[in-house]
């Protein structure tokens, strides 16, 4: 599943309120939190709906479609567990939440804020997984950042 000889990106910490999200990533599914009462989505996950104060949460499979809200290319200091030229991206999911991730399989010259993206997943240390995004319709093979 993973390139075990290489240093891997750290596994997400996860906690009681967010474990479902990272478990979804391990299954290759982007899962969002929706309030069971007022049906609004929220990210990052939280124990109470800030709109109606309900404690009833639904874990909903998301479309995985997003648009690019912003991005940055960390240069220094180098992180050995990441490829050169990796990009951090903030994306707007079609369901309305915003989420940090990486933007992959794109030439920096082709990046446009607002460009449509699709989700995929890569493994992390400790058998974890995280979501990644690439231009929608790519035929990429899921190479992560």
């Amino acid at each position: 599943m993973s390139e075990t000889t290489k240093m891997q990106r750290p596994a997400p910490a996860g906690g009681r309120d967010s474990a479902f999200f990272w478990e979804g990533c391990k299954r290759g599914v982007l899962v969002g939190q929706r309030c069971a009462d007022c049906k609004r989505f929220h990210h990052p996950p939280r124990p109470m709906c800030p709109d109606c104060n309900s404690l009833e949460r639904e874990e909903v499979e998301l479309s995985g479609r997003a648009t690019l809200h912003s991005w940055a290319k960390p240069v220094h200091p180098r992180l050995p567990m990441f490829e050169d030229d990796y990009l951090v991206a903030l994306v707007d999911l079609d369901e309305g939440m915003r989420m940090l991730s990486n933007l992959c399989e794109v030439d920096p010259d082709d990046i446009e804020i607002g460009m449509p993206l699709e989700v995929f997943f890569v493994p992390t240390a400790n058998d974890g997984a995280v979501h990644q995004f690439r231009p929608a319709g790519s035929v990429g093979r899921g190479k992560g950042a």
Binding site: P12, P74, M99, I113
Partner: protein
Amino acid sequence: MANGSNAAIVGIGQTEFSKNSGRSELQLACECIKAALDDAGLTPADVDGMSTFTIDNNEDVDLVRSLGIKNLRFSSRVGHGGGGSVGPLAHAMAAVDSGLADVVVGWRAMNERSEYRFGVSQMDTTSSQGSGSGFIEWSLPFGSASPAAWTSVQAQRYMHRYGVTNEDFAHVSVQLRKYASTNPNAWFYQKPITVEDHQTSRWIVEPTFRLLDCTQESDGGVGFVVTSRERARDLKQPPVRILHATQAIPFGTETVTNYYHDDLCRFDSGIASSQELYRRTGLGPSDMQVAMLYDHFTIAIYWHLEAAGFCKQGEAAEFVKDGQIDIDGTIPVSPNGGHIGEAYIHGMNNVAEAVRQIRGTAANQVADVEHVLVAAGMSGAILGRD
């Protein structure tokens, strides 16, 4: 005449600012607090309140037993790291106004350069350098692991919206280094830079921040003493009123990162804190003669200028380039050189400079200073002459 609190800053003190202090952070804290008390004409026996903010490693109990404080009746620690750096002023003010304490000291003392550098990426996903902030969980697995990386994502959005480039940021850095070059306490004393120096410094995060967009990293300590205006009359220094001080945590706020507000080009916490300060004091941006604005990165000066109403949204780059934050501009900003030029004492050296500007004792003294805004986003204060 503005209304406001009955509390006043009566003493400030600091250590030298360096890259390697050669002594413990507790010693730095003791030294700067004692210097602030000496400045005020008070002793540790007079102190009965204390406040700092997070990512300071010094404990109140250790300071009490080192300084020889007899009994602390009030102690607090504001959250949010540098964003909360003006919070101790709000707590000191509230403590003095309410009678929880009579003499409150605040401090920030750190070996941030020689012992632990914020600028070095940390990849421990279970702990948080951002003082307990949940954003670490959602950042580190994507290689967003330093303040520069965290801040760049919102910075890029601003650059995209308003057509601002990294070269525009150079003018912030050049201005703050210009101030520092004539401030003997500044690390970059007599070391001004040019736009070309900025543009040839290496990238830290593309296309947002070069090395000279980032605050320097420093060792040092700064302390202050707050008491009532009545008591201040018997002390050594002319009191500097805390007209108001506040914290601000608008919905969706995170410490350092700002990813979930509707519009990332608006500095929501800075807007909330400055509006509260104006509301409580009856003052506005045109009543300020100096603004001390928390500069972890050059773009933060833009965000503060717009949030506090010194210029319109999206116009800060031209405002700065036009010389409006220089000593003879519309609003002189951080005439000590700020973090970028003087030292990074995590916001607290900006508080001390505000006091000097009102006393009329600053190295780069602005003429006739009556009011100073001290802004750190999640906290802020308006100080004034008594």
